[in-house]
Symmetry: C2
Subunit: 397 residues, 2 copies
């Protein structure tokens, strides 16, 4: 029986994880849960799963949940809150496997502490690798425990890598859907509306990641994640556009053989893979191979999508630059969603912020979090300047 902690249990990955636990009740059980502000949902989960510990966003929320549970006659669930609460959920002695699925930097410290406590960790949180990848992967190596990617691309890479050894890998090929603007001329990018940008062709996701998919920044983050997770330099992580997103990613070996992975586009599959690795267990998530008709590919356009180029540059420069990249992008996307800046301003803002960030080695999660805050401050300043003047953004000093 594998005892599972879910960081972000009310989100999409959290719910998919719980659906897997439900389907395979003989193999998995919920040990602890961490959620945010959706109190009704976490209350339901508490009654259904009876975890040892639940963490919520604030002290007030914790008190509210505690009294609701008491009214329902449930008194043996420990309710905690805040960042120390998430760490408690992630490092609880009765946890074997941690699913890290809190969006943003709030899950960072808890994920790092889980790795440090020797837990097996499934990573669905992009920030863990983008902003603190070096620290987390180094700690996982020290612990000799696997970091299992829970997203279709890196999970595909993880599967394909089984066809050889790490020193036999020539490069990784991440596939990209290309987003909704694959065929839109660059001249029209300035007038792209929020609604157009939120219309992703393949996956239904949160707003930020949908915009990041439209700018290809999301693919850029994935390049950085792949570099960290698989310990490869950026030039050995390539992107190829594949609009159907059928093939989730590929690995090219030194002998010239390439392995590709595909499956239905359902997040339960990478979750199941991560939870059962190195085993595979039967699922009903079957891809109808006989219905395959056409798969299309083309190279990515880094001029039309400068975010991808910026991500490669940040990946090559290392730690502090990728923190700036992520923070600046989050701020810029929020400004775009609020219609303060244009779609084509997103890469401009990001470029300004990463240019203003100096490179340095990172030694602790606290340092990472401080740099993240500073990068956001700079990004907000650049956005303000842009939205006030309406003039093209220039690098700040």
């Amino acid at each position: 029986m594998k005892r599972i902690a879910i960081l972000g249990s009310t989100g999409s990955i959290g719910q998919s994880t719980l659906s897997i636990v439900e389907s395979y009740a003989d193999r998995f059980q919920v040990a602890t849960l961490a959620a945010g502000k959706n109190l009704d949902s976490i209350y339901e989960q508490a009654l259904r799963w009876k975890p040892r510990v639940i963490s919520v966003a604030s002290e007030a929320a914790a008190q509210k949940l505690h009294s609701r549970l008491k009214q329902a006659g449930v008194s043996d669930i420990e309710v905690v809150y805040g960042s120390t609460g998430i760490v408690r959920v992630a490092t609880h002695p009765e946890v074997d496997f941690v699913v890290s699925a809190i969006v943003g930097v709030s899950g960072l410290e808890a994920t790092y502490e889980a790795v440090k406590a020797g837990k097996s960790v499934g990573l669905a949180n992009k920030e863990c690798l983008v902003v603190a990848g070096e620290l987390i992967t180094a700690e996982a190596r020290r612990q000799g425990k696997p970091l299992l990617p829970i997203d279709s691309e890196h999970n595909a890479v993880h599967q394909c890598l089984r066809g050889g050894r790490m020193h036999e890998v020539e490069r990784i090929w991440l596939t990209a859907s290309g987003g909704p603007f694959l065929h839109t001329p660059q001249s029209e990018f300035a007038s792209i509306t929020v609604q157009q940008a939120l219309n992703h062709p393949t996956w239904k996701m949160g707003k930020r990641i949908t915009i990041d998919s439209a700018t290809l920044m999301n693919k850029g983050f994935e390049v950085i994640e792949a570099c960290r997770l698989f310990d490869l330099p950026p030039e050995r992580v390539q992107v190829i556009v594949h609009p159907q997103s059928t093939i989730h990613s590929m690995v090219e070996f030194v002998d010239g053989s390439i392995l590709a992975q595909f499956s239905v586009t359902d997040m339960r599959l990478p979750i199941l893979y991560a939870l059962t690795y190195p085993d595979r267990i039967p699922s009903e998530l079957r891809f109808p191979v006989m219905d395959l008709r056409h798969l299309d590919f083309c190279p990515p356009d880094m001029v039309k999508f400068p975010c991808l180029r910026l991500a490669y540059e940040a990946a090559a420069a290392g730690g502090t630059k990728t923190i700036a990249l992520n923070a600046a992008d989050e701020v810029a996307v929020a400004a775009f969603l609020e219609e303060k800046i244009g779609f084509d301003d997103i890469p401009r803002i990001v470029e300004d912020v990463i240019t203003a960030t100096s490179t340095a080695d990172l030694e602790s999660i606290q340092e990472v979090l401080a740099l993240d805050i500073e990068a956001r401050r700079v990004a907000l300043e650049v956005v303000k300047q842009r939205s006030q003047t309406g003039s093209p953004i220039r690098a700040i000093s």
Copy 2:
């Protein structure tokens, strides 16, 4: 240093193997060679590779080669001949790895003896698995030595299987180019000429295998090979048509994940893979992934291509039926190439012969060879009947 025996050294696979040995002279050396009637070519190979033993087709050929080598001042090569000669080449104590690439049943006994002698064997000879698969794989299991497939499809499967364990395999997907008549209406099959049938879209190969590709019998043989090699029932080996032949084959696991392999269409790649397994070593055989544009797929049409259906039926019925399938097909293809029968008569003749063959367990290679001879006799009779009367072929009693 891996010491290699090549059964069929002057053929296409044999030459590709020698080119690999040449490229990686620090890893491989030629220990022994077996060839057929191309005496000039085997003489050149003898001078170039200085093997311990060479086997040729006949005593006369052996004497001729021996005296030519003597004239050239080479006296330390043992020249042998015939079926005992091939066995000597395959089981020589200084051989570590045997590449089995003699077309037809002549390489069967030697391959079996090589497995029995504990050699690692790379299989490029289809007959080994189609007609004697049960015997050879059982012996390889007893010896605990790998049988490594040297053809693009099974080699691809072998690579994809590394992504899980055998009991985690749901099914294998062999890709088929579909041959030159993929889009030809069935009504035109009777009038297909030899020249049309020899025009294969992807690979340049020998005549029989080219016709077998046009009838999809070759894919049928590959289904049988896959069943034997990977110990799966025929219903778990599926075929999907993929005209570009970019993806060489796929493995679907029980969790719903599918791994696919692709690479340049160059036989040196599966040879290199087999010779170096479980390692991979760098080659210059690179697939230009960035140039990928379109991959197309469609289900196979077993009505239009009855040979594929017949192969599935023979695979399900077992040993004697697959011997009959192979023998009848070889005879029928020869008759088609001599313009004695029509293209659409090939499956008719094959079906008659396998219907006339009873099922039985096979216990020795000698039994296999005797059944092969008998099936050929029956097939020749059916062909004769057909070419004399010109009437539709009926099952013989």
